[in-house]
């Protein structure tokens, strides 16, 4: 997030696109509700399903999955045509306005309406509401990124925010919500194939040298494989061994049959986890690790707020803390990591990472709130990014054309399948499905289908149906609901017995390598 969670309450307009905030990020959902209910904020929700946030919205744009670029370009068309953009911001802080204006000229609300299914007048009104607000925030999540056009979507979101001068000030910003407790931190820490900590490229010789000196070894200069590419390489036999820590690709990857084939093709698989997950079942060695309640450390929240994690209970049985396990394997492979006490490791991170330069456990234990970047121990942190300039200096408008999803509904697979979370469950269900109360309220997954499609297909609520795509099929209970638009079905991906990702498309975005979880062509058969 360029801004913070506290900051959301100050917004005068919020566009939520591709985020079912009240279910996937409930506490951020509270901030949005407060802004709307108590602070006179206008809420625009762009979302194919009628999510709970729609009850609080001034405007609900029900666009078809995978048409975000067309919708946002349509809004920008109106904003430029009606002169509602922030001329001063665009002139002083951005490059490439003319190119943007030329491209979005083609996206009249009428044309955007044709692509998205949203009425042209609604696009106009939403554009005006957003552009006319003193400060307007955009909040998005995986509904924007999990597309073959995910990068295009993100860039277009940024274009809209810059065009309306909503960067670098309170109550505004581009605010992606990170889906896991420490996905922000894992990225910050360089658990990515192309960057070291603090997003510094492995290809940069100076950066590499710094790490080589600190670690005392020579480091590879070629970027590695992304998670999705690893699976492809494993299937082909190019990756021969994998070490998987606290991840469950056998539930979370798109196209699970492919993931299974890939993992089974490995010569050696080590899984380090707290449960015998679907992935661990395929492993050659399984190492029992620690949950968040059993270790010290830090998590970085979605708004770059670094916070302490503290040990509350002892590890079960012979399970060990993750840092010790990694250090042990390392030692046995001939590299001594030395003292891996979390507070000491944070000091090492701080010494090698400008963003985290002023962060230490001691400082966090004083109870202060720090959002990175925090370059030194005196620095209070940076709640709002890009207040004076962007990372590259001037913001760069990067106009993007609408491209349809990799798979569209056709006569054989006439429905669009989209996936996501429900309030009760979390990700692959490893944790929440072991909670008794949650199992009572939400015992199993359901496929959501519109009354229109249900009637056409003879589907009834509570009855089992078969949902299939080109990748596979699952049997699952149907839930007929007016919250779904005609032609779209939704399956949450938490449930192993009806794993939605058996169905999803593993086609990826060319830049981010994120699979298109949100759009697959599917069909429903009554059993």
């Amino acid at each position: 997030m360029t801004n913070t969670m506290d900051d959301i309450e100050q917004a005068k307009a919020i566009l939520v696109i591709g985020s079912n905030t009240t279910e996937a990020h409930p506490i951020i959902g509270l901030r949005i509700k407060k802004a709307v209910m108590q602070n006179d904020c206008k809420l625009i929700v762009a979302e194919p399903r009628h999510i709970r946030l729609c009850y609080y919205a001034d405007k609900w744009l029900q666009h078809m999955p995978g048409t975000d670029v067309a919708l946002l370009n349509g809004m920008m068309n109106v904003i430029i045509a009606e002169g509602l953009y922030d001329e001063k911001f665009v002139h002083e802080r951005c490059d490439g306005f003319d190119e943007l204006a030329e491209l979005v000229k083609e996206y009249t609300p009428e044309r955007a309406a044709e692509i998205t299914g949203v009425a042209a007048e609604d696009i106009r009104e939403a554009a005006r509401t957003f552009a006319n607000a003193d400060c307007a925030a955009i909040i998005y999540a995986m509904g924007i990124t999990q597309h073959t056009t995910g990068t295009d979507n993100v860039v277009t979101v940024a274009n809209l925010s810059m065009l309306t001068g909503n960067i670098g000030k309170p109550g505004a910003g581009v605010n992606p919500l990170r889906g896991q407790n420490n996905v922000q931190g894992a990225c910050d820490m360089g658990a990515l194939p192309n960057v070291f900590t603090g997003y510094r490229p492995v290809t940069d010789e100076d950066v590499r040298k710094k790490f080589e000196e600190a670690w005392g070894v020579e480091l590879p200069s070629e970027p590695g494989l992304t998670a999705t590419a690893m699976m492809d390489a494993a299937a082909k036999g190019d990756i021969k061994a994998m070490y998987i820590v606290g991840e469950n690709p056998m539930m979370s990857d798109a196209n699970l049959h492919h993931a299974e084939a890939a993992l089974k093709n490995l010569d050696f698989l080590v899984v380090q986890d707290i449960f015998l997950t679907e992935t661990a079942e395929l492993a050659d060695v399984v190492l029992p690790a620690s949950s968040f309640a059993e270790k010290e450390g830090t998590f970085s929240a979605t708004d770059r707020r670094v916070q302490r994690v503290r040990k509350a209970v002892e590890l079960p049985g012979e399970a060990r803390a993750d840092n010790e396990i990694v250090a042990e394997i390392s030692k046995r492979m001939g590299y001594d990591m030395g003292d891996v006490t979390p507070s000491r490791v944070m000091d090492e991170i701080a010494s090698l990472t400008p963003h985290y330069g002023g962060i230490s456990h001691a400082r966090l234990d004083e109870g202060i709130t720090i959002h990175w970047p925090c370059p030194d121990a005196e620095h209070p942190g940076t709640p709002i990014l890009h207040t004076k300039q962007f990372t590259r200096g001037k913001g760069w408008f990067c106009p993007v054309e609408f491209v349809p999803p990799a798979e569209v509904a056709d006569s054989e697979y006439p429905l669009v399948l989209t996936t996501g979370r429900v309030l009760w469950q979390y990700h692959t269900g490893t944790m929440t499905r072991k909670v008794d109360g949650i199992n009572e309220i939400d015992p199993h997954g359901k496929v959501w289908i519109s009354p229109f499609d249900a009637e056409k297909l003879g589907v009834e609520s509570g009855k089992e149906v078969q949902v299939s795509t080109r990748r596979g099929e699952i049997n699952i209970e149907a839930m007929v609901t007016e919250r779904m638009p005609e032609g779209v079905i939704f399956i949450p991906f938490h449930y192993v017995e009806a794993a939605a990702n058996t169905l999803t498309n593993d086609a990826v975005d060319p830049v981010s390598k994120v699979p298109e979880f949100k759009v697959s062509a599917a069909k429903v058969l009554v059993k």
């Binding site: 509270l30 420490n182 061994a241 070490y243 991840e247 707290i274 046995r332 072991k434 109360g437």
Partner: protein, 377 residues
Amino acid sequence: MEQINVEIDGTSCTGPKGSTILDIAKANDIYIPTLCYDPRMEPYGACRLCLVEVEGARGLLPACYAEATDGMVVKTTTEKLERIRKTLVELLLSDHDMECQGCAKSGRCELQELANRYGITESPFVGEKHEYVEHVENPFVMRDYNKCIMCGRCIRICREVQGVGVYDFINRGFKAIPGTPYDKPMQETPCEFCGQCISTCPTGSLKAKPYEGDGRVAARDMLRNACAFFKMSEEDMMEALGLQGWKVRTTCAYCGCGCQLDLHVIDNKVVEVTSPKMVGSGQGNLCVKGRFGYDFIASDERLRKPLVRKGKKLVETSWDEALDLVASKLSGIKKKSGADSIAVLSSARATNEDNYLIQKFTRAVVGTNNVDHCARL
């Protein structure tokens, strides 16, 4: 922001303009009793316990509601105020079971604290008492209206903070309670089971079902009872008893909101999870997972020993064997097929420190940049 000066109990206090008397008193560590107040919500002014005397004002003013003005002179603890407060608490207790020892909220009950403060062991007012059957129809929220003081905090937090509005006062007069529409089971309402109502309830009226009824919980309740009896904080009591790890402040392990949690621990088990009010991004608010989703920590299904594949089966083994096998296999594959034939998936669930070590291991020890995690999934 413009600052104003207020004299409270003879002490000169400052605070931002627009603050209530209570805000300024709290900021200056001056205690004013409250019952219907929660900083997460708009002031309500129902319980009248926070009444204060203000020089020149026509009557007594509720500190939670009354805006402080520059030069105001406030008295929080006069004989008259304390007499009114005592009577108010006695009235509330006239329809309240005083067997605090059997109540799970004992030691954390705001009403009990006030009864202790005013030395009330029995209410002088005798009248009809409610005899409701406790509502236990759903897995998360237990409702015992015999202990309800009608402060409306559950109604307000559900409406104002959660934006849902499951509760409202139902029935009339003596029979009024903060109930669900038509007194329906909570599963049949739009309830999200966030437990926010439990987090704000000042008495034992609303309780978290997952955190009641086990032997360790009984120990927790005993401890809190002792705290109430000796008027000690939980931390001081634990220290006096030589026990450790009672309440551990940490960060939620579910989504990326980063809500702050207090894990209450007894006998190496998490017996309750709460969130500190007005701290961190969540400000004391939690969702159903963040408040109740912790059975997994002590689950029987947790992995307790390393496993190694023998034929088709995974069998238990020693750490030494497991670690040696991992190290030799990875080293062997690296030697034979090159470092780039090995890939590591780190975890968005693990800490920063763990993630740092895992990417360091991949780059410095294995010698490849094939490291990623599930940011994309």
